[in-house]
Structures are given as structure tokens and as C-alpha cells.
Symmetry: D2
Subunit: 307 residues, 4 copies
Amino acid sequence: MITDNLRGVVPPVCTPLTPDLDVDVASLTRLVDFLLDAGVHGLFVLGSTSEVAFLPDGHRQRVVETVAGHVAGQVPVLAGAIDMTTLRVLDHARAAEKAGADGIVATAPFYTRTHPAEIDRHFRLLADGLDLPIYAYDLPVSVHIKLPAELVLDLAADRVLAGLKDSSGDDGALRTILLRARELTGFSVLTGSELTVDSALHMGAHGVVPGLGNVDPHGYVRLYQHCLAGDWDAAAREQDRLVELFGLVDAGDPNRIGRGSSALGAFKAALYLRGVIDCPVTAPPQLPLTDNEISLVRDRLVAAGLG
Amino acid sequence: MITDNLRGVVPPVCTPLTPDLDVDVASLTRLVDFLLDAGVHGLFVLGSTSEVAFLPDGHRQRVVETVAGHVAGQVPVLAGAIDMTTLRVLDHARAAEKAGADGIVATAPFYTRTHPAEIDRHFRLLADGLDLPIYAYDLPVSVHIKLPAELVLDLAADRVLAGLKDSSGDDGALRTILLRARELTGFSVLTGSELTVDSALHMGAHGVVPGLGNVDPHGYVRLYQHCLAGDWDAAAREQDRLVELFGLVDAGDPNRIGRGSSALGAFKAALYLRGVIDCPVTAPPQLPLTDNEISLVRDRLVAAGLG
Amino acid sequence: MITDNLRGVVPPVCTPLTPDLDVDVASLTRLVDFLLDAGVHGLFVLGSTSEVAFLPDGHRQRVVETVAGHVAGQVPVLAGAIDMTTLRVLDHARAAEKAGADGIVATAPFYTRTHPAEIDRHFRLLADGLDLPIYAYDLPVSVHIKLPAELVLDLAADRVLAGLKDSSGDDGALRTILLRARELTGFSVLTGSELTVDSALHMGAHGVVPGLGNVDPHGYVRLYQHCLAGDWDAAAREQDRLVELFGLVDAGDPNRIGRGSSALGAFKAALYLRGVIDCPVTAPPQLPLTDNEISLVRDRLVAAGLG
Amino acid sequence: MITDNLRGVVPPVCTPLTPDLDVDVASLTRLVDFLLDAGVHGLFVLGSTSEVAFLPDGHRQRVVETVAGHVAGQVPVLAGAIDMTTLRVLDHARAAEKAGADGIVATAPFYTRTHPAEIDRHFRLLADGLDLPIYAYDLPVSVHIKLPAELVLDLAADRVLAGLKDSSGDDGALRTILLRARELTGFSVLTGSELTVDSALHMGAHGVVPGLGNVDPHGYVRLYQHCLAGDWDAAAREQDRLVELFGLVDAGDPNRIGRGSSALGAFKAALYLRGVIDCPVTAPPQLPLTDNEISLVRDRLVAAGLG
């Protein structure tokens, strides 16, 4: 199914944890159902929103098995293979493949100091070593490098990459890639932005991977459909509502906890408040939101009509 | 043995690989003997110079087993537990402990956006979960954050940390820590700099973890001994010779390969040229040095009297 | 005239220089006529595209006098007051006011390490010291800080700022500001992006300050009018043509000259090739484009129908 | 006098201001006497510690005239010509020359995106346009680029540069430059570090430009003399005392004011408390220290024996 272009709303699935930090399989399954019922077009497990950076290998495997098993082919399931360099990424990707993933999402090397020619080699070696389609994950806030457009386009032209998940926030660069990728078949470009989905789809992006899509998948599906229908005014109104809702990521006091902990904690708090998951805990060393901060999340839900 | 302060020359041991990218156990053992014969005071496996970011878990385990087994208690063997966040680091650290390591070296979280309070929590959770002493690894070039002095000193005072490996290159900050750490017992501060070892020891650092110490361990042992003896002029002369030798890390053309690949490739080329290891290959996606670039390494060895 | 919201296409005007590096007043006047004839709605002198960072105070004054004098009130003329901190910016702003500018564009402090509370104070002191409306210039690539949304909105609510020129490239943050600025009257948000103008206007931005608008002002005016008319498909086609044309900024070899020199050199080369200015020289220490690189600029012009 | 190598303690002179933000000439003169009486070997006006980034051109001129006039050739007076690019730096440098400076200190271009070849051109154009000796100022925290060692050494070998003021904090890179600069005559390397002066002099640096030298010039002169005498133990003790004193730069609450404001405010508060200057005000938009924070400065002075 994934040999065609991946399109639509593909949420990066949160990883619910039990109070003692195991994968909460029941909550995860319920979350998957919540997303599928809303009409999402694919799922991305083990992305940043999934707290992949915080999950040990055992947790990672359980997540892929749980989600791929439960989805059972209804929509494609992409799995992040997030690690520092090629051989380590290959290990994760093979484990995800065995666990049932339909595609692999991988970043450029990080922690190391890598030349663009080595990033190119990295993705080519991944493609050589794997059977599944590979999606490049452009995430400068974590990887501390932006994937150069030429590099992505060369890899796409050589069919090393099946797609790009662009979380760079740089929509000018995204547009350049979209324009030049138009003649390429089988290359899917997904924006990771929660805030500029209508813009990205208007430019020609094929879909969106919104972290906030865990909390309000129905909103993102509506937004996508408005865009497909060319109703850009309705799309803008839906997007604006989601921009307001996205304010929940700032619930955590920046003098107290990290911006990542605030965002991931707020997504989980919202899923908990909406009754989808049993426990809003995030993985260490992230600090949890306070009760007051969780109230701010509740306020945002209410204001967005989700309370 | 490691309950006393760790002191002296503790090289971060290169990881020799076979042409098909397995751990070259014979070469690794030979390298360990080369270092021990030179009189080093400890070994640090699975650090940046060891290509830890490039090694799959299987390789990592084989390295610790090989080195800890071969050293058999002659000197302490520290092992890097290098991964993004707490639970993943704990997994690596427990594996290293089982494989025979005497201490664990860990960075702050990376890839994620982490608040200092969360870095603090990270190290405290590591200490709670492990029996081995923990050394904080300050490596802003990889982790993209500098460990704050107050944080390190608090963790040291609370005996969460047994020491600090400072590879920040910021000797002013190092001095501040050294000054304030003076009253602490059992806290060992090692500089990761190849170039300012005499300065760091003069300020009160307890030892050095020099990547270049793979290539010229005798030089670093002499340098350390001059410092111990208070012969700062002799120390400066030895240090200056090593600064010249260190120029080999720039052998690789920066328009072609990464600075990491150049440095690691040069260390391994030098070990190969000196007859210590069988194959200078580095792990993917690093690009290898060219023959011309390896000649530059040879020139540096000759100039330093190691040809 | 500028008391109403500034709207539309407001190109940052290139500063043509003579071969001996004086302001080329005749070429500058011709460029202004070229832009006005195309129907632009305002002019921004002494911005980054104007090489403001390279121009001595005498040049700066001549530019404002020339442009404001020639325009003579047909459209508003904004002037950059680009310097490191408050008192220096005030000096530039007062000189620009005397020379006839209608509004002032200023960044946060740079070179210094400044707290957001101090950035806030900076803009308030500027407003206290000046009669002209002040536009905040968000340019992280130069200033090395992104203006926080809350800060901008507070200053807008307090009528310290008349508007924002957003060259951050972060359209998600831009949308958040636009959404929250909706209830504010007299606050004008202009995108500095050449590549996402239709997106920005669709989100509610009031106008655009495109460096490439020097080269193809007619294109940006058409694009703006398509957006005003709600013809988003025609807008996307025009924008896509301009994205292709924008490729000229990469004419210069990155192994040889800076990205700024490449872009500014390409804009001036294009204006020279189009017969608008007499000499494409850029200010030192920028290195000039080679003949081959200028050919690449010509190719882009031809492909965009401007050859 | 400056044709010989510049050596010794060369404090970057604070710029005392009146409550209404003019240059306080009387206090400045008193500060110069305070420094000369302590035995400093040169003065550096219009550096970062002088708040050069905050001073309008009129203030800058008054500072150079005041200090150069008062010093009257007893020691060399260097002046910072701090601006974004070549032509602007030339204007400042010529003004400083007219006002009596003996040498010019200039950074690489900032605010712009500059290639190393353009930095090279920048310094060569400065040398072509000026009669005074030029010192390169390596200050990555402000300029956001580190001057490459090869670039500095090439410019030194071609006698474009008379020296380097290294405020990079990277003592490994400093040592590499010092080693390779040994055969060059007439090239003076000064460290900008307050904290590693003995180390830098031990490596072969010619002198030091310590901001804290405003507050305790006698300490830095003693430290320099111990180093000259090869009494490294006494040097380390003096340096350690100064490291403790340097803690005053952190007096300002980081959640409230910038790190620059804290450091500059603390230096001026200390000078005020020591009776050297009349008013501790810093230039806008810097926020002032609170009374409690000034008490912390007083505590540090007392602890260092200066209370």
C-alpha cells in the first residue's frame, strides 16, 4: 500500500506509559483507535512526539508490535529509527521491520560532526541495508543540521528516499523542495508543522505529521479535507482554531522545565483529560506539568471545543 | 581501586574495526597493551574517540568485554554509556557493568530540549540506578549544551558524580570548577583536551583523557610526570610537541569529509602506520582519508619523532 | 499616510554603488522609478538587501535623502536604523527622520548578550525617543535571536510598534502572531520571505518585503493582487515562478564566497543585466560573482521570462 | 612605542557614564590613573568591557580623546573600531587615529554572513586603509564566528596584523596559534580571559586584556610579574584569587537581566564601591543591578581583600 505516495494526516503517535514507565499497551491501542476513527491516513510511531529519544529498545519494539499488530494494514505504519549513526539506525530499522512497520523514518547523523557527503552516504547505506521505504526526517532542533535541499532531491531522484518529513519550520525551503520534486514520482513530502498545514498543502505537500493530531485528529482530518477540496477559507479557519489549541504546548513554565517536556507533557495531559489514555506521565528525565499547568491545558481544550 | 580519585593519563581507546566493520579484537587487545606498556593510568572505552556514536550495541559490548577482560584490573576501565536520555543510558550502563567496566561516563541528554533541572534529574536517576561511579562528560560539540558549573558542583557535593570529563575546551570554566571542587573529596576532574594538559594540571585537574594519547601514549605519560614533578618548562616542551602532532587531525579535506571523520581517521591511520592496529577503517557513514591525506598523517608522525 | 496600516509590496531597495564604492544616485533613482512603475506600495531603504551593514553613515544618509526626495510622498519610505544597541540606533533613526523617512525599522540589539526584558526596553526607548512609527525587524540569521511572539504582541498592544517585518523564516511563529494580532488596530505584519508570500497573506499578513522584489517587482505586485482577489491558484503559480527565479541567490560558489555576497551580488547582477543599474559591484569585504556565476543569474532571468 | 611587541597587562577600560548617559570624563580620567598607578602596560579603550557596542560615535570619540590625551604616551592606547563591516570599521578607526589612538582592534564582520576569504579581505583592506597597527579581536560570543588559526597566521605572516586579542575562551586553539606564531616577529598575542592568564602566559602569550583588570589591576600586574619570573605557583595562587573575584560577574539574576548587563554592571558597581568612578550606570538597554545584587559584588570585593 505504501508503494504509492503516502498522503494525508499521519499523526506521530504518543507513547502512553504506565506509572512505572512501561508501555501502556491498552492506552496505546485506545489511542490508535481514536486516531483511526477520526479518519487519519497513516500512523507514525517512534517519532519525537512519541518520546522515541526517551524509550529503551524494549519499549520501542513493543510500540511497533502493538500498533502495527492492531492496525493490521488498515493504514500504513511508519516507524522512526532514531539513533546517532548508520549502523545503529540499521539495527533499529530492522527491529521495526520485524515488528511490522511499513516504512522507516530516519534523521541525518547527530551527536557526530558530519559532512553533507556523509549524510548522503548515510541514507544510501540505509537504503542498501533495508527493504522498507525510507523517509528522511528533517529536524534541525534535534539534529542541529538542516538537510540541504539538493541532498534531499538527489536522494529522491535516485529512489533512495520515499519521502521527507519536514519539521524544519522553514517553509521557504520546503517550497523549494516541493517545486523541484514535482516531476519525481513516488516521493512524498509531509510537513511536521502543526501550524502551517494549509500553507504546506497549498504549496503541494502530500500530507502532515502533526503532534497535535494526537489531541485533535478530527480537526486535522477536516483541515486536510478542506485543502483537498480547495476550500482555503474553511481550511484557514480550521487551521486558526488549531493554532489556538497548539498554545497548550507552552503550558509548562520555561523557568522550570524544558520546552520538550512542556509540549509532550501537554499532549499527554490533553489525551488524559479527553479520556483516551490512562496516565499522562512522560519518560525521565522530563519533569511533569504541575496541576496549575494542566489546568492551562484544560482551558485550551475547552476553548477549542474539546473540553 | 576506583574509590580513590581517578588520576593520570586515561586515553579514550580507539575501536579498531575489521574491513567488514566488526570489532577487531586482536588489534584492540594490541592497542590496550600498547597503552598499558606506555604507563597510562586508566582506560576509557566507548568515548567519542572510540567511535561510540557509530557502534551498535553488540560492538559496544564486545569492546568492554575485551578491554576489561584483558586489563584484568591493572588499571580502571571507564565505559561510555552514550545515548539520548536516562532510560537508554541506564541500559547501556548496566550492560557495561556486566561486561566488566569499573565506572560509567555519561553526557547530559541530547537530541531533546532539556532544562538544567532535568539534566540534574538525569544524573541523579543514573546514580540511583547504578552501582558504579558516574563521570559526567561535558562535550558541547556533540551535546549542544555546556554543563553549568553549579550543576556539576551540586552533583559532586551530593556524591552523585565521581568526576567530570571536561571536553568543553573552556578552560576558564574548568578553572572555576576546579577551584570550587577543591574541598570535595573523591571528585576527579579530567580534561579532554589534547592541547592544554599542562595548563589543566597546573590548575589542579587530576588527569587527562587525550584522544591523541592513542597515538602517542608515551608522550602524554611523560607530560603528566613533568607536571607531577612541577617541571613546567619540560611539560610545556612536551605539550608543544604534542600540539604539533595533533595537527594530524586536520589531514582530511574539510570540503570533502567531516571534522570528526578527519580526526578519527587520522588517529586510526597513525595507529596503523605505527603497527599497532591492522586496519584503519572507520565506521560508516564516515568517509575515509585518501592516500594523500594519510601521507600528511605520516609526516606529522615523523616530525614528532614517531615515524 | 503611514498612520494607516502599511500594506502591500514594500521592496527592500538595493543600494547601487559606483565602481569606487560611492552611492550611485542616478542608478538608485532609476531603481526607485522601476519599482514605483511596477506598482509597489512602499519602499524600505537600508535593509539587509540594501547592504545596510556595509554602508558608512554618509552613504546611509545619501540613500534616504535620495529615495525619500525622489519618491516625494507617493508611497511610504521606511528606513532601517541598523546598529547594535539603543543609543546608536537612535542616532541612525534621527538622521533618517531628518533625511525624510516615514518610518523606522530596527532589530533587537545584536553583538551584545541581551535579555528579552532588555529587548523590550530597547524598543520602548526607541519609541520614546522618536516621532516616526517603528517596525520591529525579526532577523535571526543576523541578530542571532528570534523575537519572542509575546514580546512583539505586548509592544504592539502598547503601540510601541507600528508593525513587524518578519524575516525569521518561521511561518508557524508568524501565524501565531498574526492570529493574536488580529484585534490590534494599526499593527502591520510584513513577511520578509520571497518564497511563501501567498501563504503569509493567506494567514493574514498585510504585506511583503521581498529582496527579490528588486529584480521582479511586477511579479510580486501580481502575486499580491492575486492574493487580495482570493485567487490562490493564480497566486501559487506566480509564487512558484518566483521561487524558481529566487534560485539566483545561490549563483555564488559556497566554497568561495559567503551566502550573503552570493545573494546580494546576484540581485545586483540581475538589476544590471535588466538595465536598471549601471554597476553590479557590492560593498567590501564581499567578494564579487565571477562571470560564470553571473551567467547563472542570466539563465534564471531568462527562465523566468525576464531575460 | 608600539612597533615592538605589545606585552603585559592591557585592561579594556570601562567607560564611566553620568546619570544622564554622557561620558563621565572625570571618572574616566580617574580610572585611567588608577590603572596606570597599578602598573598596567597598555590600555584598550572601546572594547566590549568599555560598552563599545552601546556608545554612540560622539561618546566613542570623547573616550579616545580623553584617554589618549591623559595618558600622553606613557603606555600604548589601543582603540576598538567595532562595527559590522569594512567601510564602517575604517570610519571608526580613522576617527580613533585622529583622536590619538596608537593601535586599532577590529573583529571579523558580524551581522552579515561572511566567508573566511572575505574575513581575510576585510583585514587586508583595513591594513591598506590605515596607518596604525591592527589587532584582530576574536570574540565568537559576539561575532558568532571563531577566527580560524590559519587565517590569523597568514595575516600575521603578511604583517597585516600586529597582534591578536583572543577572547574565544578556546585555549587549545590559542596554543596552536602561539606555537606557530613563534617564528613571527612583531606579532603580539593577548588573551582576553580573566581566568587562565597564567596558562596563557605559560604557553607563550605576550599579555592579557582582562575586563576584571578594571576592578583589580594590581592583582593582574602581580600575576603577570609572577609569570614573567617563572614563579608558577605564586601565579596560580594570584590567579585563583582573581577567579573567585570574577564570580561578581554573575551577580545579576539570569532570569531578569542579560549576562552582559550583569558583568558590565558588576564591574562598574565594583569601581563605584572602590571609589574610582562616580556612578555605576550602564548604557541602555541594559538593565541595572539591584541593591541586593550590588551587595553580592561588595561581598566578592571583601572576600578578595578589596573591600
